[in-house]
Symmetry: C2
Subunit: 665 residues, 2 copies
């Protein structure tokens, strides 16, 4: 290692370790071991512009081993991102820019929120897939506007997580040749040697997935790392995994032990580490001028790259003005004017229609005006109705394709959708049955935390799906999804509410979950009911009591809205004036002004809620005096209409409960 | 194929397909393709006793591809289990014994509930691990009381799921040589050819995990299947995957298409299939005498096996009476007398202690009297405090070990814990941070559906974990876990509540989740407070208002109980009489008689709840007039006490909200 290289690597190491020490909290082991590969990647390969972290064609870098955040912050600061040294000194402190794990949207240059292992790995696959999508749909001969690499630094913990396995297998299938992962192979996990739990042959496993696997025997061998990254770049069909043998806590007395992983070295071991690596003991947070100068070359290079790319873009605009306009909008995340012009309006004369079916029609109508709309299902496209017909498959030839076959990999699907949303240029969706949202939760949570514009489509939304039985019948899922802060959940009651829900999904900042029926439900008359406006507010009066003065309110979501409507009719015939409130989204409703909320659900009127899911949570809307018809048990295998009725979803029961409620009030 | 074999295979095929046809719902494709391997396994290898499905040393068989349930029901009926043919005719109907996917506890001979893909694969690993555990702890020379195989039939969907990848890697590491999986390699998934999403080299991938991989080129080649299973049995270090090339919908007009997968063949194609395979068109549900006789040989063989095993057991009892007593108890799932004699009592004079630490002490105290207690963590044992000290590691030599290193594989951990619980003989636990319960949800749900005695330990239970930040700080998780029907969630307030929570976990039927703090909390005086009894009831009066007549009730769980106690003191100094109710478990509380619940939380007294998680759901306990201090946003990275206070968990705020509540009331 020459002296500048050595100086730079150690600058990274000790900025990170000093930050951890000062915070009295954090992970010093990984930065000490992985600094050399991070250094080589960031100073010799990574095409980025520290002065414009949003430059569209930058290479993406994800620290999937998010616990090594201090290393990333050191890289960002040294490379010239808007992250002052002072912030490194505030590592892991309230109000700072350097949280314990990297957070997207919080620190310039952080491409994804990581920490929960495996997520970064899979989001990187999503970024590479978005790149492939845009490249195939927009690049033209001699004008490769989108052609960056996606890099990640991954740990053994990432590789053990199932979500990474799923994503890796898909990345191999889809031949994401511009995906390059560096594996920090340090042989240590928290419980001890990785051999305790992880003796697999990583090389063979990834070759089996269709990856190119390269190896660097010594993590301090900068030339070796350099050569491997070049070989990875040269391979354009297979993703590359570069296994770099490192030593956790390199240079410290705790080297090669689990103790180096998750707590500060401590003053004496830190001192010993600095001595061992020939680093001045004082001051801490030392940045030698020479090292800074070397790292900051990134600013000028970044400017040049972006300038060159802007020239390419200008040429592209001249030659392909229409495509350029589309691409510009996609990159900016703007919606084209008239994007919703083809949004279908469904008529009650049509036959009853499952909301999943309506959703499929809506998506296909939107696709024509939203060139970024793309995604797929976890091997359930025929059931989730999520194929964009005539828009091709992505990943099998050089053609532009919008449909992704995720395979039976719900978790990776969600993380990949997150990665695609983070990348930009795409409006990605992922679909499966509602019950399998459980497989996706870690990624759904990150979507909510990052506020990605990710659309999750969940069909087969209740016990009414029938014969497949309790393993496939969601019960607790609606409430569990609503529990995630920042996730907007919509459960439309009919085809027109489904169309309105899609409008929300496309327009809203942050992730949305569309929860859709398997079974057919009647189509509400959009001219009679204020469906489109109503959905936007989360809840609305679908059918008012006859004289406008309800003595009872029936609140429902999704398929149960029709039950409420039927009960209202029956009650009317018995002289009871009931209002039906359709409430497709709690989150949207909770955002409304108090006055609107009071109008919809006045506390003086008894309220009966019905939803084919657990009743917990509804108390907020029906009050102490109200009642809830829910499903507080697992379902059962039988035809859908039988299960629905046996578990209490029929007009007689609703009317009975409504009358009992009235008597009590 | 000789004629009896042929007859038996086709009997299986058409029983299954006729059941699907009659139900007008189900999956005919898999049974048609996989019947031959199921036939060979069940009639030539599987050691089981149809007349006693609970025989402890039976081979386990899991249909991981649970959608092929009709095949399993056919096998069970034909082999002589208590599953009448009439029940096959009631496939997927209300009240029947043959639900759409196999359900443990519902149908004799069904070893695990499957359907959500990957779960059966991972539960099988758990069964094999429980077998290994018991074998190493109890078997003696010449007396192998536990030495069965664990088989599963798995599909490409199983192999795509991350949970299966995790479990497979661990099974290789732990050298589960008695695990034998048959892979129904039919090249078809729901969206079409598996090549759309799944081009990996399965053989190389599993060899990389350390498995033996065998291949049968023709799924109808009974001898080939036979030879492969023999080779799998002969390998006692490595788990075996037998890749059997099959044809979905074999013999039908839909053979080798996705259409054969998930819907009845339909009358004409069914007729064509019967013709193609030389089967009488009528009657449906035909069982030729010769086939029945052949299958029913299982009854006599089963009886012989069990009789032989009982003889072995008798010899074991004579030679190792003490071990035999322990093993008997373990197999019966009984708790030894005095199992709780060493349960620690913590004293308030002790320093404040994290409930995770108390839990670790409790577990270690229990281990001495509960020989079946075993489990581990997803590479967080030092943090979750779940090591059983001095009880050895499982899987690395022939010694008895109780500690499992699951690796960073939360999802497989949970499914493996389920498998171990289903197997019996073990009282298994799995531990990680609460936020990562998200990774485990599909398996947690199955635990609840199956009511396995599985113990899930979740530490680092709130924003108070501090610096690791929002990716690691649970917010919605308590409520999401409570949303799962049949899962008992306990969040103890201190060391003594933690001990009582463990008592519940050990004694209760069904799964429990123990939710524990990272940070220290004071120890409540067990002589002053009715902690042990109180926890059993889910909620109890920890500190009554001075005159026994509260004007306010503070309800809290876990670490927030101490905040409530502090607020009560402060309120008392201001002349306000407040009761503190500690509420470690909603599920237990909800089971109490109404009178008890009214006593604890009388509706006439204003109630203020506090919990460091989302407030949704608490309305059921505080009522319209009440108030909730919760966390309805993601957390932040900073020292734990700072985050806790910044997000509103400090006495001033509680007192302020309490007084405001009193003013409103």
């Amino acid at each position: 290692m020459n002296s500048v290289d050595q100086l730079c690597v150690n600058t990274l190491r000790f900025l990170a370790v000093d930050a951890v020490e000062r915070a009295r909290s954090g992970h010093p082991g990984m930065p000490l071991g992985a600094a050399p590969m991070a250094y080589v990647l960031w100073t010799r390969f990574l095409r980025h512009n520290p002065r414009n972290p949003a430059w569209f064609n930058r290479d993406r870098f994800i620290l999937s081993a998010g616990h090594g955040s201090a290393l990333l912050y050191a890289l960002l600061h040294l490379s010239g991102y808007d992250l002052p040294l002072e912030e490194l000194k505030q590592f892991r402190q309230w109000g700072g820019m350097t949280p314990g794990h990297p957070e997207y949207g919080h620190t310039p240059g952080v491409e994804a929120t990581t920490g929960p292992l495996g997520q970064g790995f899979a989001m990187g696959v999503g970024m590479a897939l978005a790149e492939q999508f845009l490249a195939r749909c927009f690049n033209q001969p001699g004008l490769p506007l989108v052609d960056h690499y996606t890099y990640a630094l991954v740990s053994d913990g990432d590789l053990m997580e199932g979500v990474a396995s799923e994503a890796a297998s898909l990345a191999g299938t889809l031949r994401l040749g511009r995906l390059i992962y560096l594996y920090d192979d340090n042989h240590i996990s928290i419980e001890g040697e990785t051999d305790l739990a992880f003796t697999e042959n990583v090389r063979c496993r990834f070759e089996a997935y269709g990856w190119q696997v390269l190896r660097v025997a010594d993590g301090n061998d900068l030339d070796g790392i350099d050569t491997a990254i070049r070989a990875a770049q040269a391979e354009n069909q297979r993703p590359s995994l570069i296994i770099v043998r490192t030593h956790i806590g390199y240079g410290s007395p705790k080297q090669d032990t689990a103790d180096a992983h998750g707590e500060p070295l401590g003053p004496m071991p830190l001192r010993a580490t600095k001595e061992a690596l020939g680093w001045p003991l004082e001051p801490s947070f030392l940045i030698p001028e020479e090292a800074l100068g070397h790292f900051r070359g990134a600013v000028e290079r970044g400017n040049e790259w972006e300038t060159k790319w802007e020239a390419l873009r200008a040429a592209y605009r001249r030659k392909y003005p229409e495509l350029a306009r589309q691409l510009d909008q996609a990159m900016d995340g703007e919606l084209p004017a008239g994007w919703d012009a083809d949004l279908p309006v469904f008529r009650p004369e049509e036959r009853p229609m499952a909301t999943r079916t309506a959703s499929g029609k809506v998506m296909n109508a939107l696709a024509g005006r939203l060139p970024g709309l793309m995604g797929g299902s976890a091997d359930l496209a025929p059931s989730t109705r999520t194929t964009l017909i005539g828009y091709g498959d992505l990943g099998f030839d050089e053609a532009c394709g919008h449909n992704v076959h995720f395979g039976v990999r719900e978790h990776a699907m969600a993380a990949i959708v997150n990665g695609m949303a983070l990348h930009g240029g795409a409006i990605p969706y992922g679909a499966t049955f509602l019950v399998f949202s459980d497989y996706m939760r870690p990624a759904l949570r990150l979507a909510a935390l990052m506020q990605t514009r990710a659309i999750f489509i969940f069909t087969h939304d209740s016990i009414a799906l029938g014969e497949d039985g309790p393993t496939h019948q969601p019960v607790e899922h609606l409430m569990s999804l609503r529990a995630i802060p920042g996730l907007t959940v919509l459960r439309p009651a009919d085809a027109n509410e489904a169309a309105a829900a899609w409008r929300v999904a496309i327009q809203r900042r942050g992730p949305t979950a569309l929860v859709l029926t398997r079974q057919s439900v009647p189509v509400l008359d959009p001219h009679r009911y204020p469906v489109a406006r109503g959905v936007l507010r989360g809840a609305y009066v679908l059918a008012e009591a006859e004289n406008g003065d309800p003595e009872l309110i029936l609140v429902a979501t999704g398929s149960e809205v029709h039950l409420a409507l039927a009960a209202r009719e029956r009650l009317a015939s018995q002289g009871v004036r009931a209002r039906v409130v359709s409430m497709p989204s709690w989150e949207l409703f909770d955002e409304q002004p108090p006055e609107y909320r009071r109008q919809m659900l006045p506390s003086r009127v008894p309220r009966l809620a019905m939803e084919a899911g657990i009743s917990r949570g509804w108390r907020d809307y029906v009050g102490d005096a109200g009642d809830v018809i829910g499903v507080d048990r697992f379902g059962a295998s039988a035809p859908g209409d039988v299960v629905y009725e046996k578990l209490g979803f029929h007009v007689d029961r609703v009317v009975e409960r409504a009358l009992a409620l009235l008597r009590r009030s």
